[in-house]
């Protein structure tokens, strides 16, 4: 070992050719302890795993809803502008008349009767009475009608 060392030392000399930056070894303990202190600080608590899974899906859904809402808003706005304000008011009024205005039972029947009689002409009425009523009934109606007059 010593002979071997002597040979290499005679070639390369005994001095250490490497140098260390000034103050490096002196400050090593402090640097190590501050690194240890930093590593041992409690980490911020991790979020619940379920939330981490749901969060991207919720974000995606919210973005989709936002885009859909904006698209719907733009379409509605352009449609309304195309028709003008007057036509929208008229449409609302007719819808109110058709759907909102209350209709009583009496109105319904009266409307029904009016509708039927207005559509019947005299000939159809005579044919109907002749077919459905007996002679005596017809005579009775005739007598009452003329009695009133």
């Amino acid at each position: 070992m010593n002979e071997q060392k002597d040979y290499l030392s005679s070639c390369a000399g005994g001095d250490n050719p490497f140098r260390v930056p000034e103050g490096y070894l002196e400050s090593l303990e402090d640097r190590l302890l501050s690194r240890i202190a930093a590593e041992e600080q409690p980490a911020t608590p991790a979020k619940h795993p379920a939330w981490r899974i749901i969060k991207p899906a919720l974000t995606l859904a919210a973005m989709f809803a936002l885009i859909f809402g904006m698209g719907y808003g733009v379409l509605s706005l352009t449609h309304t502008l195309g028709r003008g304000v007057g036509s929208a008011a008229e449409e609302y009024a007719s819808a109110e008349e058709e759907l909102i205005r209350p209709v009583s039972l009496i109105d319904y029947y009266q409307a029904d009767e009016t509708e039927d009689t207005s559509e019947l002409d005299e000939e159809t009425l005579v044919n109907y009475l002749a077919a459905e009523l007996s002679f005596a009934d017809l005579a009775d109606i005739y007598a009452q009608t003329y009695k009133e007059k």
Partner: protein
Amino acid sequence: MSTDREILQLYREGGREQAFRLLVQTYKERLYWHIRRMVLDHDDTDDCLQNTFLKVWRSLDSFRGDAQLYTWLYRIATNETLTFLSRQQTRGEYAGLDAADRLSSDPWFDGDEVQTALHRAIAKLPPKQKAVFLLRYFEEMPYEKIAQVLETSEGALKASYHHAYEKIKAWMKEALDAKY
């Protein structure tokens, strides 16, 4: 060795930080030079040395005292450095640059041509053989202790050191003959 006992006693009595500080103060220089001769570069040495001491801090609880503290520290430092060298080779760092190129551009190396040739020759050794040579040649560690550090038989270490020495001698002669 009395310092080793002092460090361990201090640690067991609850002065963990104080014990660690004493341990670093006692071994930092020896471990620094051991690692530096293996990796050559100061910054790489700093990384390996800090990682070594951080591992020591984390596993000081599990040190049972079967081995001496200093062989345990050398084992951690050597393993950390061998892992570093292996990763460096895998990543292809310093590809195309041999040890002589790196040493000549290192601001923390003042060696002459012969010293450069010696460290260039050491750098060419396989990593584990390099560790054996450095522990024996520069640290003058007995084979028995090197066997504990590297967990190898003494016979295998003696053979390994002999091969390493012969290779270095041949490479040095070749380099110096070419120069002069």
